[in-house]
Assembly symmetry: C2
Homo-oligomer: 474 residues x 2
């Protein structure tokens, strides 16, 4: 045992404390002197860079272009769309002074950039030839949250926000769903996190949206995490900001818009879906270090040289590999890289060398594999780890997804085995709020599947309109 493992809280005793321990001890973040603002340290930021790299490629493949909008929004601009300002005004940071000079109009730090994109679109869109506009930006946003937790809820966070403008409602709807699929695919294939796709209720949708689609994932403790959202605005913003184009018949029409975003929250999801009592567990596709090589008895002849040789070989085949030649003990190093969730550890010692072997240890299963140095199944092993992490997460979600017919049933399940609970629902906000108030579970999403023919709302008992997922959520 060493100082890393000694001091981590058992995840099944106190999941919140376990989470805090992991983000700090894996050196992903540090706290700053501003409440609720975190420092993304090299290891945490490297994961974000990989998220950016994967998604940015997908965005560009689907025809999107990156732009950069200003950080500051004048109060009058934020107020242009009524629902939007009501949703965001209570939680923005206000700039009131520039140097010593009091501003005549206060400016907020962007909580999201719909208003800025709309103002720009009104300037640059004239004709149907200018459509669609498919823009995205990577930036940070600020929301003045009361209680904060690293990655999950912070005053400032990094994200991307896509903003698009289309000629028709149908095109906007197709874009909204396409980007939801891009997110779902990314979560499942790269982050190894299974997601449920669905639609937010009227009560839970984005301020200013016609409809909000979401991907929801289940954490180790049975709570849900909203992992990405995609909004169809219809022509609501276009009307508020007067964004019009002339169509091919020379008619003046409003555009239809969407926006969609994911954030550093996804790093919180990775931690809470895959982590264990030894720390982080990273899927190989998103791990900044996929393989760590740790020499044993480094001073013995040939060990260090062989380790360097292997590192160089793996680097050449595009594997993210780290060789740790520091003077810490091997045991200390084992725990350190376990805490950091490195998917695969390769140990090279004098005895291995005699047999021209190495020992590989999988982070996900702890399995030890001895393999011939000249014939390492690196790629297959990394793929197996990636697949196993997804399968485990899916099994966990399936085990913790329940169905309930009544509010009582839902309450009973929640009190013993928190998870997703699927029910019939009449579609009324009144029932939704009653369920939330009584149980603490919120409507995560309306399922894409059809409602049961003879289903009855869990709350009022009236005819059901939808299948809906409930859960306590982050």
């Amino acid at each position: 045992m060493n100082k890393y493992v000694e001091s981590i809280t058992d995840m099944d005793k106190d999941f919140a404390q376990w989470y805090t321990d992991v983000v700090k001890k894996s050196e992903m973040i540090d706290y700053s002197s501003v409440r609720g603002c975190m420092i993304l340290r090299p290891y945490g930021y490297a994961i974000w860079e990989l998220i950016q790299k994967h998604l940015d490629k997908k965005f560009k493949e689907t025809g999107h272009e990156n732009v950069y909008m200003p950080l500051l929004i004048p109060q009058s601009l934020l107020q242009k769309e009524k629902d939007h300002v009501e949703g965001f005004a209570p939680e923005v940071a206000w700039v009131t002074y520039g140097g010593d000079e009091k501003l005549t109009e206060k400016l907020c730090i962007r909580p999201t950039s719909e208003t800025l994109f709309c103002e720009h679109y009104a300037n640059i869109i004239q004709s149907h030839r200018d459509l669609p506009k498919l823009y995205n930006q990577w930036c940070s946003v600020v929301r003045w949250e009361k209680t904060t937790r690293p990655f999950l809820r912070s005053l400032e966070f990094l994200w991307q926000e896509g903003h698009t403008a289309h000629a028709t409602f149908e095109e906007a709807e197709a874009e909204t769903l396409k980007m939801l699929d891009v997110y779902a695919d990314f979560c499942e294939k790269i982050l190894a996190i299974p997601v449920i796709k669905g639609k937010k209720t009227e009560n839970e949708k984005f301020a200013g949206a016609l409809s909000t689609y979401t991907i929801e994932s289940l954490m180790h403790d049975g709570r849900a995490l909203q992992s990405g959202t995609s909004h169809n605005f219809g022509d609501g913003f276009a009307k508020a900001f007067d964004i019009k184009y002339t169509d091919s018949q020379n008619q003046l029409k409003y555009v239809y818009q969407t926006s969609w975003g994911i954030s550093t929250r996804l790093i919180g999801a990775i931690i809470m879906v895959h982590g264990d009592n030894n720390g982080l567990v990273l899927p190989p596709n998103i791990a900044p270090i996929q393989i760590v090589i740790i020499p044993i008895a480094m001073k013995k002849s040939g060990v260090k040289e062989k380790a360097i040789e292997l590192e160089q070989k793996l680097s050449k085949s595009k594997i993210r590999v780290k060789l740790d030649l520091s003077d810490k003990t091997p045991g200390w190093k084992f725990s350190e890289y376990e805490m950091k969730g490195v998917p695969l550890r390769i140990e090279i010692g004098p005895r291995d060398l005699e047999n021209n072997c190495v020992t590989m240890v999988r982070r996900d299963t702890n399995e030890k594999i001895t393999e011939q140095l000249d014939n390492l199944n690196i790629e297959e092993t990394l793929e197996a780890i990636q697949k196993n992490l997804f399968d485990k997460a899916l099994a966990h979600r399936n085990k913790n997804t329940f169905e309930a017919k009544t509010l009582d049933e839902l309450e009973k399940i929640l009190s013993t085995t928190p998870g997703f609970i699927k029910t019939n629902w009449c579609g009324n906000t009144e029932c939704e709020l009653k369920v939330k108030e009584k149980t603490g579970a919120s409507a995560r999403c309306i399922a894409f599947e059809k409602a049961d023919e003879d289903g009855k709302c869990l709350c009022c008992g009236e005819k059901s309109k939808h299948k809906i997922y409930w859960a306590k959520a982050y």
Copy 2:
């Protein structure tokens, strides 16, 4: 002539207006409703992405890691280093409200992040084993400037800021100079902009630095642009923020620090060094579109197909190519991509096809080259353009670099042929300020070369300590 070219101002009649025309008409930027904050449109942002890609690779190759620090700095933290706060406090944006709640301590939006890095370093550096720390971040900063111009001086701009901590002064100095070299190399090889490396005077150095190094480049109109800076802080910040480590003898010591940065200003430099009366001229190494293919008489049999074939072939060899199949006229397209500075245009028409040829037109020289379709010298041509742009810029700088012995001589040169003027200087701030007041030229940098043995200060006539470059500057 078309609407693009008609409306651009002659650069030799009104350079400032020419600049404004180019940034707007090339679709690099748009204005936003916040004074001095610009929108980076896809074409402008794509250039920034290429700058990031090249430099980020260099930073990582030289051992640096990326992090992300908070956007907001508490007033008390900004005040910790005396010179630093004096330099920056007059030009920061202050956040005083979070939602409806008045903050007990106001927060500024980072104008630069020395104070945040220092606070973090004080937390994470304990032992000599923790050194060096070689961090960098890509972000936006805000400085409340009175007058603003796109890319050159704006309220908010994008940049990178490297921040490092070292065990000794010598290591910090070596880092400072190494990063200056990285910048100089990048400007010359990638942006095709020749730079002068030197040291800032005491009066011009960064607030809180022991010494500031700079790269200075010369624009088309004879004004200088500070294009990147690298600062050695000595242990000044370490003492203010109490950043100490125990060395190998177990002695407690202060660390030595550096910081270095470049910004979207470099895009302004590209425009003003290479641009001409047809618009932007981009060096191939930084051009988002290196080649545009324009079909002539697109409806004639085979033209479109051949153009698509060529585009696919070039894409495969990693060339950034765009095929314009829109229904605009070829002439309109020619002007549009000239305005956007695309280095090479390839025209394919029915007559070319008969001879299995294409016509290539170089943006830098307007030269027309007919080449066999099966044997295009694309890479060589792009390299030739890159080299020619650098050579032209160097020739322009050399032609506009003068020497002067007295203040009168300096004034005379400035009034007729603005450019760099090299003089002897005694090293006293008094003389420096007198020159600036009388001529409007500022001390750009102290040259690395030695002072003349028998040189006399241009201002006071006393013995010279340095060779120094003067210029009117952006």
